[in-house]
């Protein structure tokens, strides 16, 4: 059952990704992207990452994609239907390269089939059982990774200020 669901969501995600690359209009790309993100969120659930799945939907699909949409609207690009794909030798070369890359990666990940349960999986299951979905990730986040966590906070602050400064009309 889970396998089937995985394949369904995987197909949607891939289709969405192709759409992102191929869609003519930016808004179209954006919507395909939302689809991909949503199906990825589902796959996260299948992989027992419930909290991240939630965040994926709330932060990514909800916040970041809306930010993109705002910008597209702000710049009035919504009606820009001109194809902006590069063509010719460049696209061909790019295709060959990413094909090779995909081949290498898929081959690498495809072999040596891993069967659950693994040690890591058991540990996550135990953590989930003990702390719940949020607590399982909060536990390491506020202990082992507290310093990176704080730094991330500062990064966000800097990003806010930076974005303000850059986007402001008149220079400071």
């Amino acid at each position: 059952m889970i396998e089937v669901l995985f394949y369904v969501f995987a197909a949607v995600a891939l289709g969405g990704a192709l759409g992102v690359v191929w869609a003519k209009s930016p808004v179209g790309s954006l919507l395909y992207m939302v689809a991909t993100l949503a199906s990825l969120a589902c796959i996260f659930v299948l992989l027992e990452a419930h909290f991240l799945a939630a965040i994926q939907v709330i932060v990514y699909a909800g916040a970041i994609m809306v930010l993109f949409l705002f910008v597209i609207m702000l710049l009035n690009l919504g009606h820009d239907y001109q194809r902006d794909l590069k063509g010719g030798a460049f696209a061909l070369l790019s295709f060959v390269i990413i094909g090779l890359m995909a081949g290498i990666l898929a081959r690498q990940f495809g072999e040596n089939a891993i069967t659950e349960p693994t040690a890591g999986g058991r540990a996550i299951d135990a953590a989930l059982a003990e702390h719940g979905a949020v607590g399982a990730i909060a536990q390491p986040l506020y202990t082992t990774y507290v310093v990176p966590f704080e730094i991330t906070g500062i990064l966000l602050l800097v990003a806010i200020v930076g974005a303000l400064v850059l986007a402001k009309k008149s220079s400071l």
Binding site: K86, F90, L93, S94, I97, L100, M101, L105, Q108
Partner: protein, 714 residues
Amino acid sequence: MHTALVEGGQATVDTAAQFEPFFPGLIILLPLIGFLINGALALKHARVSAAAVRLGGELDLGEGDHRPETHTLPSYVGPGVMLAAFLIASVNFIRMLSVELHEPHVIEYWTWIATGTFTVDAAIQLDQLSILMTMIVTGVGFLIHVFSVGYMSDDGGYPRYFSYLNLFIFFMLVLVMGASYPLMFVGWEGVGLCSYLLIGFWFSDREKSDAGKKAFIVNRIGDFGFLIAMFLLFGMFGTLDFVPLFSEADNLEYGGSLVTAVTLFLFLGAAGKSAQIPLYVWLPDAMAGPTPVSALIHAATMVTAGVYLVVRSSVLYALSPIASATVAGVGVFTALFAATIALKQNDIKKVLAYSTVSQLGYMFLGVGVGAYATGIFHLITHAFFKALLFLGAGAVIHSMHRSLHRTNDHQDPQDMRNMGGLKAFMPITWGTMWVATFAIAGIWPFAGFFSKDEIIWQTAAFGGAARAPYPALYQVYWVIALGTAILTAFYMTRMMVMTFHGSNRTGVEEAKHLYEAPPVMWLPLMALAVLSVVGGWINVPEALRETFIGLGPLTSEWLHRWLEPVTEQAHHIQEFNLGEVAEQAPFGGGEVTWAVISTVLALATVLTSFHLVIRKNVRAAAEDPELSGFSKVLYHKWYVDEVYDRLIVQPLIRTSRFCWRVIDARVIDGIVNGVGWAARGVGFIVSMFQTGTVNTYALVLTIGALIILGVSVF
């Protein structure tokens, strides 16, 4: 100042008392002090006169007592220190006379250079040879200093002149008193420096300045030989101090290649300093300096340093028959060669210059045939009569110059064709110079006779030795030496006649201003004239002892005996390897016979040439026709300068230019700049990938990622 010899010999029963030096350091120090005082005065004066020159004029010196102290003090300081040095040297000489000194007396002052393996002290060596040389240098030097007071009195560079002269004496004394080769080399190059400064004393004249430069560079070629010889000696002995070096030299193989190399390189140095073929070319040009300088440096002292060097190294030369034959050969050929050039020169100083080269050749012939004491003997007599000749010429030039100057005549005051009949105006100069001429011509009983004749005789005797290395060669030398003696008599007589005899060619107006030199100038002439007569009596040959009335027995072979401690080692080596020298000349006849023959020949030549030249109608320089044929070749000094210029100087300059403009600027910098251009070219090609399009960069980035991925996977 002086450290007495400490070896406890005083208490022994030996009657030979210890030699106690009398402030020998002062002999060297005094001229240095003189140099410092005169140098300070010169610097002081130079600032004043420079201010005048800057305003476009010359500094007026004023007359007599009104002259500034910079022009009065040197007259006392310069000769004063020389007299003091001479007196101290004399005291030492007298003290040495009264004792038997077999080993050189070495006095160390401080360690000059000391590395782990090489040590040389600032030390002076007192022995028979060095004290004799010191006497000559300070004595003749003193006389010439006195002469200079008169000769240079009106010159703007008066204090500078005396400072150079004192400095020269200082270095010359270092040269002769130094106790090691490096210290001798200090003096060696130091005198070269002073010679350079004094030749170019009137440096505003391009030719004179050039002459000084030429002297220095040619001397440096010789110094190159000296340096190499020192390096070889250090390799052989591990020391360059004379005493240990010569005492170990006994162990060397006779005729060994190393000792031959050393002596030949040393001789290259000597040839440079003493103006022998092929390095003689600087000396005639050196006549550009003030005439007393020519007398002191280029006749009496510095140029004889080469002879001193060979005698000092006599042990080494005795060990190398090849080097000795070379020394003698170069000497005798130089003597002949220079004499031929002297035949046709018209500049009074040039004649004397070539005559000096020629006489130096004789000295080298002497030391080359192992007659070291005889070489020194000729050095001494030559110092007297040649200094006298130069000073006499100086007096003539001084007088001529003043006369031409006062009448605003722009003729050459040194050209003998412009002189003639000066006997009437300058009797003392005339008389004393004739004494010198007799001496140089080798006429009995003047000084030159004894020394020159003995050299010629020793050549014959050496060639006839039992195991002489190249007997035929020495016979050739002997014949040339005899022939050159005749040439000498001829050109000297020619010079005297052209200058002093015949009709006066200066011009009527000019003749009114010709005077005898002042006493400060002719007194040294008189002193030297006396020495030119009696100087030879210090070493009357054994064979002539009886013929020389009165003094003979007293002074017979005195110099030989005096120098015995210095030369005996060399003589032993020579005698051991070559056997006794001959008693007979190649064509028969003993020493006395040939002495008589040569003096008669010389006298005859003087008389004949006197009549020949006086009858010849000499014309003033301006009217004299161009020479042709062989005379022209001689007049132009066999075109040696031109040949050197073509073969050495110009190619060197061309090579240098080639190195600079082609190798440096094109090849090396070409490569350097080429690398720069190549880097730019590569950059230009690579910059084509910098399209500015983000996608391209992303593609390249991806390719990079792919490569890393591929590498990490496979």
